[in-house]
Assembly symmetry: C2
Homo-oligomer: 598 residues x 2
Amino acid sequence: MQSSWILAIRSVRPLRRLAPTLTPRATCLSLLASRRHFQTSSPRPQDINPAIEDMAPKAPKFEIKTPKGTRDWSGSDMVLREKIFRTITNVFKRHGGVTIDTPVFELKEILAGKYGEDSKLIYDLADQGGELCSLRYDLTVPFARFLAMNKDVSQIKRYHIAKVYRRDQPAVKKGRMREFYQCDFDIAGLYDPMIPDAEIIRIINEVFEGLGWQGKYTIKLNSRKILDGIFQVCGVPDASIRPISSAVDKLDKMPWEDVRKEMVEEKGLAPEVADKIGKYVVLKGKRELLEQLQKDEELAANASMQQGFADMDLLFTYLDAFNAGHSVSFDLSLARGLDYYTGVIYEVVTEGSAPKVSAASADAEKSKKKKGKAGEDEDRSDDPTVGIGSVAAGGRYDNLVGMFSGKTQVPCVGISFGIDRIFSIMRANQAKKERKNEVDVFVMAFGGGKDFTGLLKERSEIAARLWDANIKAEFLYKVKPKLQNQFKAAEANGVPFALILGEDELAQGKIKIKEMGLPEDHPLKEGELIDLKNLAKEVQVRIDRKKQLDAIIEQAEGLRVVGGIKGEDVKVEQQAKEKEGEVTPTPPVQTEEVKAEN
Amino acid sequence: MQSSWILAIRSVRPLRRLAPTLTPRATCLSLLASRRHFQTSSPRPQDINPAIEDMAPKAPKFEIKTPKGTRDWSGSDMVLREKIFRTITNVFKRHGGVTIDTPVFELKEILAGKYGEDSKLIYDLADQGGELCSLRYDLTVPFARFLAMNKDVSQIKRYHIAKVYRRDQPAVKKGRMREFYQCDFDIAGLYDPMIPDAEIIRIINEVFEGLGWQGKYTIKLNSRKILDGIFQVCGVPDASIRPISSAVDKLDKMPWEDVRKEMVEEKGLAPEVADKIGKYVVLKGKRELLEQLQKDEELAANASMQQGFADMDLLFTYLDAFNAGHSVSFDLSLARGLDYYTGVIYEVVTEGSAPKVSAASADAEKSKKKKGKAGEDEDRSDDPTVGIGSVAAGGRYDNLVGMFSGKTQVPCVGISFGIDRIFSIMRANQAKKERKNEVDVFVMAFGGGKDFTGLLKERSEIAARLWDANIKAEFLYKVKPKLQNQFKAAEANGVPFALILGEDELAQGKIKIKEMGLPEDHPLKEGELIDLKNLAKEVQVRIDRKKQLDAIIEQAEGLRVVGGIKGEDVKVEQQAKEKEGEVTPTPPVQTEEVKAEN
């Protein structure tokens, strides 16, 4: 066995003597397969044999890139995104959520007729024989298809985090891509009214608090029933209700004058009807707005409105019990584009997610758009009409499943988080970059002079023992590494501990552990000798201790940040702590009606 | 505020009085949007107003299904798959792995010319204007494209768990799909030879041990250099090396006679050359096989062979240090289909993953295939020639990145785990199904008679307090639920604890906690009263205690299973424990050569 390690040590160079002498082969790939120089250790790009270099592949003629509107995720970006996923998944599971996974493409017919005029943005697969398929446009329609197929699933709280595809104008810097993640939580099933709807809003709160947004977001809330009631009362013809609703939905990007223009000039609405609508849709508030609307006799007489009032009244009541109402804004301008909503709708915005646009600049953009398809594929990140948009949106859709299953309806309410937009905002506000990997220990060899073997065998064995103990560890893939290079590699990834092997220490059954980045005057700056016998335990204890310390420091830094937030930002957690032990039973309420029904 | 809760309690029925009186609208969807009956609480499918029912959507004319070769994942299947992902990710991170995410489709040109005759299985996107794209076929080519684009990334240990797409014959039951997960770990960069190659094999061990396979798998190992050396020595013309190599690769599915036939009849190899190959490719063993080959003078004179010998010698040495050699079989029949491998190659098989097939049945299958395209799209799960296949495979590919970047080569070695196949095997061997969700507490109301309010407000508040404390909790979305139905719901999901609110207990500031499923004679069968003040703490203590207990029981059951395994299965962990404290330093070795070089 010993002799092999001699070979290992020798192998650093002797193999180079085996010059590639292979004859040319039929294909370029096979030819390349016979090249050897990357297998030997020493050669760096500059000392490659020029004769071989001539056989190297030429760079391809096309540009090496990802398709337009898509990107790779790696490095600290990827770490941050994974962290966002973990936080959100944790919230979903806390509420009993289970996850499902559907194919990335669906039969073309499944998606057809679900997205109105946005259907043109659907990606189709080429017809290569067999079924015609399209890439999914969202996660909601596949979920409805899933429910229609699985009749035994009549109640489910499901979450789904996956990519969806839209052949849209990309605005990369603002997180609007053609391939992007959606992250959906939906509650399907027949329940007593508004309880799941309220839990969804509680979940929205938990997600953004979990992400550290500390109340700096607004959950805009409305109801399709209230909106439809307003349109009916104002005198919008039934056939125009959805188009007029779409126009109202643009109020977050366009001033009222432009929306009114669209209603009257493009959609043929009578000007006085538009003006009447205008009085309502600018209203926003909390529960008191609901009470105000309920006093409006004209509205109160409308059937759709009555249903909407009852829903919202219950919803506000439940939100109080869930302690989830503080970020909610009842906003009559919220309409949501999609056809399939039937009840409560909501959309979450944060500072800067919906830029104020003057009528003039919107006009300029419009005329630019009409100029033709020249710039169709360009990145629209610098277009002022493209905001970050909402960071989450959803609502109740009670009839979508029935579009697939016929009679069997499964009412649903859900929320979709725009992960890429959330990421863009958090990335911009990030104080320090995330570490790229999670390695806790870098195993090094110390030694010098002619006799230094590099201790590769010992480093390998130590690493293997750490891995066996589920400790994340690395070492340099070099037979005889310099100590300096080993420290550099550890520092580059922010590895917190170095385990340093030396021949003298090994002979005594010891190894040195050194915490990286300690200040000069720290008593443990030079490291500690620990027994090889208890290696895993000794290392684990130090990792745990450091993690606890880091968590305390991070918490302390977090508190400092919270201190800087404006006073009226109510913190869910603080409130929760104040509430501890505060639950008082409601005395049993008896009304004639309840009595009569029992 | 009190009045709203009266409304909530009342709302169970009164809202039904609001009969839908809306007029028909332009679109079916808008019409449906006005339907109300799913918003009210009591109606079940059977008491839907028949007049409305007529307006319900008709079931669509096409079959509601997922595209051929794809499936939905949900329920306990999904939980098991997530568990597999977690185990594998844990191993990858332990070795310093970082993850990247690439788009699901690539420019068509990126994939072109990388997969030989399998290129016909690539899914293309339809040409809808703009770039031509294809769905990724594997994760390796996108990784190579990523490295070519990111010149600053010269060394990386990356993992990537994502779906890939192949227009292949599906064999659903055996886990061979058109959309399936791959799970790749690759080490890219220029290092001293064979150290990363050995770490990949160590990782393979850790993954399958982590999944509980306890040594019941074989890592077949070979080297393209050794294989090419054999072909050269046997007299295979250079142009035929890759086709002959492909034929050899079929030895796990076909008997030697058939492979020989293909070589001679289809690929025009001289019969005596084929026979000479036949003597080598049946050999398998461990390190002693390498020593045996090294003694073969004809082989030893071949340059490619010399490089292969040196590689394998080092590899076996490093595998010993990593304690990772026990499941390895040096197997000269392993050739791997893909063109791009340049060095060591490996493939992991497990019992039953490669069914023995007689020449006759293979012939039958062949003639069936030639019959035409009639059955092209059928599920081939019952086809005996389709085994589960390998559960992981990979190797060294030093020249792939250069195909994109031209001169800048980044040598790579990696492994790809076939998640769906691993899943199929584990699903079949699974003793008990996984729980569908992770809820720890079900919040219930107890009460009876006319005065029972259902305590919805209190249940909501208790649930909100548990969520605040990061405790997973649910309650029934029903204003006045029956206790029996609440227990049923908790049992259906295997929720371990019930928190039961009663008005008398609430008045004393208490609440009952009950562990589900305790035996009749258990002292805590009837539950315990705990203080509402310390709710979260009291609950958390009990959850933690139960989890510890469950872990001990699971471990005990695991040991029982291990006891039944055949004795020669060496267990990595046991060995590791035996080794603790056993690392002995290698005395510094001096050779003339090393001396001279220092």
